[in-house]
């Protein structure tokens, strides 16, 4: 806690403020554009961050994360299409309210609740990340293995879509991480005689392929889609009456979002759906939901932005990403030579508290920019896909090529783009693939090192209390969807 003063350090660095400003603008643009968003945008911008120092690079990525999550609400409210998946629940009431001629009021509520949710989650991050990091000092290889397994099972059970399909996708992600030379024995695996594959498959080709290129293919199937855009005069601050109606919802959703964010899952998307559902459950007027309820907008937006800080907790404290975007941020940390985990809190507190402070400032910045610039950002949605996506393709190709200057990376990006398109088409989420890829080395490495420690005796895992706890939690996480389904069937 003695480092709390370091939170304000970014305020005194003009360089960080400039990075924050541009990161916030870029995040808003990405959030507004359907199909893009902070994950794809973060992956596209990763190569550019190599020109920055590590703190500026991560500050840029976190600003994109915070602002991008909010930006999705602008499109959700004005054209009934979520700019980001996390804004899907915002459409339900945002668009109907906008259709009633109250787009400014809807956006005003979305902006205010997003900022409150975002700031609340940064407070959670500031207090819980160091606590979790302290706990992680007790972790050895078996505990990290059990933790990674827990992360993957949580992702499968509370992520979007079928849990079994999510598990398949997660296993596929881990499988990708096994390509290349085995780190313990240097034996080639799945290299098929291609020299470039001996170093393994990089994160960028996979993430750009699965998100940007697969989205380009998805957009190719929607070229005749027509959006009905609602006119926006100006964003209005919520009235006293609106605050009276929504303050409890905002507080509740901020708590829900922060909690869901900490769990390794699709952070904001799940958080906003739960936040929305809870807002409806506790509302005095649940019948207004879906018809332009201001509480519905507040519930969804406070929750999805609250998930941003929450998702950073395991990312920074344990090196386990809490969402797809934090997986990109984690990659940014790694390629800049920063290893997240408990040691980071002890050795580089100024770095961490710089990130915390920057997230706080990013939330305030997107409030100002969102409030005064929503009308301008909304115009970005007018850029037609037939011009936008070829340009994104050019950036994707050059960005992917730039990291290793490898043409194989570009081919892989296209291959994963096609795989990602078909995965999404048949109900497989691509997020578990990314998390699996990130956690793959940790899962295999800690498993094999644990078995060396245990002399090949698998049962020894059960003699480690922390590892055993994580395994039990994993079993509970796996059985949770089954219980949910059974309850649903019983009800029917």
């Amino acid at each position: 806690m003695e480092n709390l003063g370091l939170i304000f350090a970014p305020l005194f660095s003009y360089k960080l403020l400039i990075v924050l400003f541009f990161g916030t603008i870029f995040g808003l643009i990405l959030g507004v554009l359907p199909g893009l968003g902070p994950t794809t945008g973060g992956a596209l911008i990763l190569p550019f961050t190599m020109t920055l120092d590590p703190l500026s690079a991560i500050v840029l990525l976190t600003a994109i994360y915070c602002a991008g999550t909010y930006g999705g609400a602008i499109t959700a409210i004005l054209i009934n299409t979520p700019g980001t998946p996390a804004a899907a629940a915002t459409c339900l009431d945002g668009y109907p309210l906008a259709q009633k001629g109250e787009a400014g009021r809807a956006l005003g509520m979305a902006t205010v609740s997003s900022v409150i949710g975002g700031i609340a989650s940064v407070v959670v991050l500031i207090f819980f990340a160091p606590l979790l990091a302290n706990l992680a000092y007790e972790f050895g290889q078996p505990e990290y293995f059990a933790l990674a397994i827990f992360g993957l099972t949580m992702l499968a059970s509370i992520g979007e879509g079928s849990p079994i399909k999510n598990l398949i996708a997660g296993a596929f992600g881990i499988l990708i991480s096994t390509v290349g030379k085995d780190f313990m024995t240097s034996i080639d695996r799945f290299t098929f005689g291609i020299n470039e594959l001996t170093e393994g498959i990089g994160f960028i080709p996979v993430v750009v392929g699965l998100f940007a290129i697969s989205e380009m293919l998805t957009q190719s199937t929607l070229i005749n889609q027509i959006f009905n855009r609602v006119a926006l005069k100006a964003v209005k601050l919520p009235s006293i009456d609106d605050y009276k109606k929504t303050w409890k919802t905002i507080i509740r959703s901020s708590g829900i979002g922060s909690f869901i964010g900490v769990l390794p899952a699709e952070g904001g998307t799940v958080a906003s759906l739960i936040g929305y559902a809870e807002a409806k459950r506790w509302s005095k007027k649940p019948e207004d939901f879906g018809k332009g309820s201001i509480e519905g907008i507040a519930g969804a937006e406070a929750a999805n932005n609250a998930a941003t800080g929450g998702a950073m907790v395991p990312t920074l404290a344990l090196g386990i990403p809490g969402s797809a975007t934090t997986a990109v941020i984690l990659t940014g940390l790694i390629i800049h030579g920063v290893r997240p985990g408990p040691d980071l809190f002890r050795e580089q507190p100024e770095f961490l508290y710089g990130i915390f402070g920057s997230m706080l400032i990013a939330n305030i910045l997107f409030f100002v920019l969102g409030f005064f610039g929503a009308k301008i950002f909304a115009r970005i949605t007018l850029v037609p896909n037939k011009l936008l996506w070829p340009m994104i393709f050019a950036v994707s190709v050059c960005g992917t090529y730039s990291l290793n200057q490898s043409i194989i990376d570009v081919w892989l990006m296209l291959l994963f783009g096609v795989i990602g398109f078909f995965m999404r088409r048949y109900g497989f989420s691509v997020v578990p693939v990314i998390i699996g890829l990130i956690l793959g080395e940790l899962v295999e490495g800690t498993l094999r090192q644990s078995l060396v420690i245990f002399d090949g005796n698998w049962l020894m895992f059960l003699q480690r209390p922390i590892a055993l706890t994580f395994f039990v939690l994993s079993l509970i996480a796996l059985s949770f969807p089954l219980i949910k389904r059974k309850k649903k069937n019983d009800k029917v």
């Binding site: 190719s220 037609p384 070829p390 296209l414």
Partner: protein, 168 residues
């Protein structure tokens, strides 16, 4: 998500081989089986040097897990069929074809030319007919990106008929 059960439009009436759940599960199992076969070709560490498990063991376990989970998904789909997906439009196949054009051109002729050709194909077949916009998307923007990466990030693009002109 797409895994919507018991809705109108599910493909219960389709014969077994045309069901998307059958095709998707089949493809996953086929690819996993081929990869599983390859794991048996990995070098083996001699027992005296081996610490823990063999390098092939972990990928083998993952592939078996994927096959088992895919079978489970398939059997669940027999009870709760997947939603019947709409036929893919021509614009999808054109975009896919443009990827092939990009790969071929960038490998044998020029990386930049590959991007330009893909951009013009995609933009045109997605409905853009204005020449000025086509030029902007296929030449001016890729050129800006190219120069930006080249100068700011110090990136050297692979040699090709146009790139060589730039590098002299």
């Amino acid at each position: 998500m797409n895994d919507v059960h018991n809705e109108k439009g599910t493909n219960k009436s389709l014969s077994l081989f045309f069901k998307s759940s059958f095709i998707v599960s089949g493809v996953i199992i086929l690819i996993s089986s081929i990869l599983l076969y390859f794991t048996f070709t990995f070098d083996i560490v001699p027992p005296i040097l081996n610490r823990g498990i063999q390098p092939a063991t972990f990928p083998k376990a993952l592939l078996i897990l994927i096959i088992a989970l895919t079978l489970l998904t398939y059997f669940i789909s027999l009870k709760n069929p997947w939603k019947n997906e709409k036929k893919l439009p021509n614009s999808f196949y054109t975009t896919l074809l443009s990827f092939v054009v990009f790969i071929t051109v960038s490998k044998f002729l020029d990386f930049f030319l590959g991007i330009a050709l893909l951009s013009i194909i995609v933009s045109y077949f997605w409905g853009e007919r204005r020449v000025a916009y086509l030029i902007m998307v296929s030449i001016i923007f890729p050129l800006i990106v190219f120069v930006f990466f080249e100068t700011i990030l110090g990136l050297r693009f692979p040699p090709g008929i146009i790139t060589n002109l730039y590098y002299g």
